[in-house]
Subunit: 340 residues, 2 copies
DNA sequence: AAAAATTATGTAAGCGCTTACATTGTGGTG
DNA sequence: CACCACAATGTAAGCGCTTACATAATTTTT
């Protein structure tokens, strides 16, 4: 069977005995058409099950009412919550969301961005800001409004909707020090192409230096965001000659992965070693001990990203939006139990 | 500043001193153009940063290379994993994914489906099959290929890519009975508009009847998919005159919610009461005790849904694809500890 | 080397819609 | 009742692209 021939504006016009212009007006600005005519037209429209052709409409309107989003992965509670909220807001505004994922790979992300633009998205949601200048230039050139989410930078001409990863991580590290820890490790996310991971690493590092701890007391490992990889990183760290008394993790997945492995190894958290997380996703409350972590307002951030983007679409200008984070204390962090 | 005037095919053609047809061919079927010409054209294309206009292309090609998906929510590991895999496959095929969520509401789902179709999606991914006949008629009329995922029905003309929720739940209930439980409750998902939840409820019910248990020994509560609601359901059940010794939960979120509340109430799982889940999402392995649950191959299902859809797009016919599930035994289910 | 076959390119007709502008209809004014 | 203002509708020119078909260039065949 052939691709069905859908009814066109002209079909409606013919049957309603009016011109295509009138039908078009009935649909887009009904108040400009006489009541009796409009009723007759709309009758035919629904009779025929007419729906305007998207391509044609997009072509002449020069917009698609579609927003694109490129996120590292959907399969991760960190982005899922925010993205869901983003989508809801988009939908509320009568637009649609085109999603692509980059698997945390710069090259793939660039490909996805270009693809979404070729698909005619009106605006873009991107995560973080670590990408080639060339991409920004392209975005600029094509005049595509975009917002950078999940991070925030004070002095920047770009539009951010997020929080200060550096500061939040700094605060967490300071807290760990306040608890009395002097030998600290960090399991960071892969920092390559991930400004959030890098900022969190840098923030923690600076806090420890500011606290006067010798550099040697701070060990850093990078790990992929999965339980097993984090577990391996934990195992390596805990096997060190003089293991740290606390591990700051770049996010909750890493923290939970570390805790799970600790259990396997018979290491008690937090008595033997403290562990902290970042993001405050669900699993942090489920694992035992609960993870002391940085709470991030995922949903509000997603919703806000959408509204900022819409504002950019209507007016020309936008302003960044900064969210505050705070530390949620659970059980995975406590004071070190003295020298072994 | 005005909307930037992007370069068109004609701009490229003029600068490369060829016709628009040649430029178009360079882009779509490069092998039909002489090497020297093609190189000259491509040079200009990249110089101008030309990207074909989506609307125009879609209009004449009568396809958008876009697949739509309407899922209950992205903010839930159940769909996130599968959707991510679905998206990856779509992307591999050079198409894009348009996502919408229905919040488990039939009316919203219908709206989203219509909206996606108006946006010109070439095919659709839908979850389950409980929706008005009218929608199927519409899909049929517009000849939009679609697959129904996360469920599977033997005798149906529609295309399913999923598993037998009824059977899987039946098996789980049978297992619970085998362990020796005779008083059993179920915390089901909201079954209204959710065939998976309904099938799981029905499957468990039938298993208990087949096992010869009196109907009165089986209590059913429906609950939203969140920890707190599930916790409330658990509390209600555990407060009954003669509480059941096992609770079969419609999915893992419900099971974990129940376990969490049990802890709060000082009820031991599984010693005092056994709890089972469904879906085998991450949290089932993290919570203590680990949840005995039905493992579902989320990623394979997502990938498969995409390929089935592409096959539908190319040829006309598709076949459903059934996945097998199996029970993963963890610690939340054990034999009842004898009469209280 | 001319004819035939093959390859490369150009011409132009749409695809379905919106909208500026032109035309026609309607009712109010002097 | 001629004239004007305004409302309702129609006409037709694109929007940027693909592609069938026509034409020109090149290679193969005899």
């Amino acid at each position: 069977m052939d691709k069905l021939q859908l009814p066109t504006l002209e079909d409606v016009a013919r049957q309603a005995q009016v011109s295509t212009a009138t039908v078009s007006r009935c649909l887009s600005r009904p108040e400009t058409v006489k009541d009796t005519t409009r009723e007759r037209v709309m009758q035919i429209v629904s009779e025929l099950g007419y729906t305007p052709n998207f391509g044609a409409q997009a072509m002449v309107a020069r917009r698609t009412n579609t927003i694109g989003a490129v996120i590292p992965t959907m399969d991760n509670a960190i982005f899922a919550k925010g993205l869901q909220a983003f989508q809801e807001e988009i939908s509320k505004q009568g637009a649609n969301l085109l999603v692509a994922s980059s698997s945390y790979r710069k090259d793939l992300e660039e490909k996805q961005i270009r693809s979404l633009i070729a698909r005619g998205v009106d605006g873009l949601l991107l995560i973080g800001d670590d990408r080639d200048e060339e991409i920004y230039a392209y975005l600029e050139k094509r005049q595509i409004p975009f917002v950078l989410a999940w991070n925030y930078r004070e002095a920047s001409s770009r539009t951010y909707v997020g929080f200060n990863n550096f500061q939040a991580s700094y605060d967490m590290a300071k807290l760990v020090v306040e608890y009395g820890h002097t030998h600290i490790a960090m399991i960071a996310g892969i920092t390559e192409g991930n400004d959030r991971a890098l900022d969190r690493l840098a923030g923690a590092g600076e806090a420890l230096i500011d606290s006067g701890l010798p550099r040697d007391n701070f060990t850093v490992t990078e790990s992929k965001y999965d339980f097993d990889a984090a577990g391996n990183a934990f195992e390596k760290i805990s096997g060190l000659g003089r293991p740290p008394t606390a591990i700051i993790c770049g996010n909750d997945v890493l923290a939970v992965g570390a805790i799970l492995r600790a259990k396997t190894l018979g290491i008690r958290v937090p008595q033997d070693i403290s562990i902290t997380g970042f993001d405050d996703i669900e699993i942090s409350t489920i694992v035992e001990p609960g993870v002391t972590t940085v709470h991030v307002p995922h949903r509000r951030m997603g919703t806000s990203a959408a509204s900022v983007l819409f504002k950019a679409l209507q007016e020309q200008k936008t302003r960044s939006r900064k969210f505050e984070t705070h530390i949620v204390k659970r059980q995975s962090l406590c004071a070190p139990s003295g020298p072994p």
